[in-house]
């Protein structure tokens, strides 16, 4: 494994790990706030237990997110010093604001976690909301920094020299809005479905039913609304991408040849040598419509770009298909849930529905990982799109593959132990319930 690939793999691994915890850290406070609100207004003990159980889970996951995020802030320099040397002063603005947001989040979390029975109950509740607000702000800011890598602006570039730097303009790059919107909604649907799936399992098994049922309903309502909104933001992203990074769009769609009335490809196997996708369903004109709002407009294919600037097409394409598939399934289930919960009320007792929700527990997170794969792999070979290649950014320090192997081990271990500890949280609640019943 060469150093560049090792550095990319280590970065990808760290990001893939961190993103799960950041999503949960952004969204859980809001889910928790609903339960907390119900406890404050109804005084129903089950909501108190629910809020507390969730908040303990959040504390664990938040710390995992915080420490893995600290790692990333150093890894940028450890792995990509030549990128940071130039990019730091340009795209650092969102990071410096994120520092504040993250700080507020940590302060609010301190108040929230240790503040039960210490403060006014609405002040305490608001601290929970504040954790969520600052978490989402951090998320938006970090994505804005990534947006700059996809759509670099706010500087002039001649012969390897960056001049006329304007950090504000760099932060408000063309990509930040569509990317941040897509990410935040994704976080809400992934976390909503993830949490709902776990509680659905315990509800299905008959552990402490009223508790798990309330948990399940709150989480799935939030997840479903987000899953339902996501296609709109996806459409904004596609149109934006067609303008900014047509090459990435072409790679996502495995759209080899420029053509009018371009078809949308669903499924199939990419045949790189023959430059086509075999066995796929093709919807004529749909890609033209999604990219440009017109069934006839030409969509640029990979043939428009020099071969040495192509991203890895197979990975980008499949990752995109996986993301969309997960999104569609969640949207359909969310739709069924919202409608039937509103009209019929009994959907939660339908076994097939619970099965589906349990099976979909990891779906949102798979979509998030796949989506980031599209964004990052789809930008290759560039680290700053059109300006600096990833191979020119990597550290000179040899032997990064050993760090990579070691961190694979570390992250696997952490994943196992976090999963184990979260299971213990739920097991504990179920046992408490059983012992109180007997």
């Amino acid at each position: 494994m060469d150093n560049l690939l090792a550095a990319r793999s280590l970065m990808a691994l760290s990001m893939a790990f961190h993103i799960i915890f950041s999503c949960i850290g952004m969204v859980m406070p809001f889910i928790m706030a609903v339960a907390h609100y119900k406890w404050n207004t109804t005084g129903d003990k089950k909501y108190y237990i629910l809020t507390k159980t969730w908040s303990r889970g959040v504390a664990i996951l938040f710390v995992t997110g915080a420490v893995s995020g600290t790692m990333l802030s150093f890894e940028l320099g450890l792995l990509w010093p030549r990128f940071m040397q130039h990019a730091g002063p340009i795209f650092g603005m969102p990071f410096s604001l994120e520092g504040t947001a993250f700080f507020i989040e940590a302060i609010a979390l301190g108040f929230y976690m240790y503040g039960w029975e210490r403060f006014n109950k609405w002040f305490h509740w608001f601290m929970g909301i504040l954790v969520g607000i600052s978490g989402v702000s951090s998320g938006i800011l970090v994505v804005a920094a990534n947006g700059w890598m996809n759509s670099p602006t706010g500087f002039d570039y001649h012969d390897g020299v960056f001049s006329n730097i304007d950090p504000l303009k760099a932060m408000m790059n063309d990509a930040w809005f569509s990317q941040a919107l897509h990410m935040i909604i994704a976080a809400f649907s992934a976390t909503g479905f993830g949490v709902a799936g776990i509680h659905a399992y315990h509800y299905y098994k008959g552990h402490y039913p009223e508790f798990h049922k309330s948990a399940f309903k709150i989480a799935l309502t939030i997840g479903s609304i987000a899953a339902f909104l996501q296609p709109i933001s996806g459409d904004i992203s596609a149109k934006d991408l067609a303008k900014r990074q047509p090459l990435k769009l072409a790679a996502m769609e495995a759209h080899f040849h420029t053509q009018n009335n371009a078809p949308l490809i669903i499924g199939g196997i990419v045949n790189i040598e023959q430059e086509r996708v075999d066995y796929a369903i093709k919807i004529p004109g749909a890609l033209s419509f999604l990219a440009h709002g017109n069934f006839e407009t030409a969509v640029k294919g990979l043939d428009q770009f020099p071969k040495d600037e192509h991203p890895p097409i197979v990975i980008t394409h499949y990752a995109f298909q996986i993301m969309v598939a997960c999104g569609v399934i969640m949207m359909i289930l969310g739709f069924i849930f919202l409608i039937s919960n509103w009209k019929f009320k009994n959907i939660l007792n339908k076994k097939w529905f619970l099965y589906c929700i349990i099976l979909c527990t990891p779906l949102g997170f798979i979509a998030v990982e796949a989506g980031w794969t599209v964004t990052e792999v789809g930008r290759q070979p560039w680290v700053i799109y059109g300006i600096m290649k990833t191979k020119d950014a990597v550290t000179q320090m040899p032997g990064i593959q050993y760090s990579f192997y070691f961190f694979i081990f570390v992250y696997i271990f952490l994943t196992i132990i976090v999963t184990w500890i979260m299971r213990r949280q739920i097991k504990f609640i179920n046992e408490q319930y059983l012992s109180s019943k007997n």
Binding site: R56, A59, I60, F62, V63, T64, A66, V67, S68, T70, M71, S73, F74, E75, L76, G77, L78, P81, R82, M84, Q85, H86, G88, P89, I90, G92, M93, F95, S96, L97, G99, T100, F102, F103, I104, A106, I107, A108, G110, F111, M113, Y114, G115, R118, I165, P167, L168, T395, Q396, M397, P398, S403, V410, L414, I417, I421, R424, Q425, F428, I429
Partner: protein
């Protein structure tokens, strides 16, 4: 604006050493206290540091962000030459944060898993603090070798040197000193107070003794700043301030007002930091084989500095009252 950014950088570093240091020190103390006192340390740590420790560690993030936004060559040279100790530091930080949170939030507080978390927490507190000192020592102590072509010289012997190891140990002692001072005020019984007072006293002497040894090692191994500057400069004055603070501190550890000893102890450490900074002035990052970097020659574009300065000023309007209120809310009521 550049001076505001530099000021914020030093304040964040100082606060990280004091607050984050006390926090690391609590883990180190657990190693150095007898078995029967371990639970005591743990309980007090949980009650007082639990709510604030996340916020304490934010100062590290702020310092790092300032570095990579405003002084990119400082950031990238540190992350290049000190790649390995930084990796270890990060790993230690990861393990420590997770162990701390696990041992308090694990739904089942059984002995086996608690013993495991405690073990990880203590070891990682020690290792992380040590490597933090190693990194600091390498940065200020003319240890990094930028022009060498050999892997060993560039990536290993830039930090694996007698002086850096000495500063690593010093850092461990400083953190233990801060933690034990902090815990005097949080103890509820007179017996506990006396216990931590004694610990804190011993560590305060160790700080100075080991500090002397570190200087001696610097002298022997030929760290440039020692020969040139030790007796003649502002650093001498700030060293005297540090010593005076120590005397004041020895008086204040018996005071019933807990903040007196804390402020005195913080002042000891603050003046030590100032002394070190003055030793290497005008450089900030020093190399063995080339001219070092400072905040002026490595500063980013003025507009970047301008916006960063404003972001920091505006941010601190939100952060500082929040942090103060948070720390004040969770003090042990005396």
């Amino acid at each position: 604006m550049l001076s505001i950014v530099i000021l914020f950088f030093w304040v964040s570093v100082l606060l990280y050493i004091l607050l984050g240091g006390a926090d690391f020190g609590a883990g180190i103390l657990e190693i150095f206290v007898g078995d029967k006192n371990k639970t005591k340390v743990r309980t007090i740590t949980y009650n007082t540091i639990g709510p604030v420790w996340e916020a304490n560690h934010m100062w590290l993030i702020i310092s790092v962000v300032i570095l990579f936004v405003a002084f990119p060559s400082i950031y990238t040279s540190i992350t290049t030459y000190l790649h390995i100790p930084i990796m270890i530091l990060l790993l230690g930080n990861l393990a420590r944060g997770m162990a701390f949170i696990f041992r308090h939030y694990d739904a089942y507080q059984d002995e086996k898993s608690q013993r495991f978390y405690n073990f990880i927490f203590m070891i990682s507190s020690l290792v992380t603090s040590f490597f933090m000192g190693v990194i600091a020592g390498s940065i200020v102590g003319h240890q990094m070798q930028a022009t060498s072509n050999s892997f060993l010289d560039t990536y290993i012997f830039s930090w694996l040197t007698p002086f850096s190891i000495a500063t690593g140990i010093l850092c461990v002692i400083v953190f233990a000193f801060l933690a034990s001072t902090f815990l005097i005020g949080e103890s509820t019984t007179e017996e506990d107070k006396a216990y931590f007072r004694k610990k804190s006293f011993i560590f305060s002497i160790s700080v100075f003794v080991w500090g002397g040894i570190a200087l001696l090692i610097a002298k022997v191994t030929g760290v440039p700043f020692i020969q040139e500057k030790i007796f003649i400069s502002w650093s001498t004055l700030s060293f005297i301030c540090s010593s005076i603070s120590l005397l004041v501190y020895w008086k204040f550890i018996y005071s019933s007002k807990k903040w007196r000893a804390r402020i005195a102890a913080s002042s000891v450490i603050m003046w030590m930091l100032v002394t070190t900074a003055l030793f290497v002035h005008p450089e900030v990052v020093t190399f063995k084989d080339q001219i070092g970097l400072n905040f002026i020659n490595s500063a980013a574009h003025p507009l970047t500095i301008y916006y960063l300065g404003w972001a920091l000023v505006l941010g601190s309007i939100f952060i500082i009252p929040g942090v103060v209120h948070l720390i004040a809310s969770f003090q042990t009521k005396s």
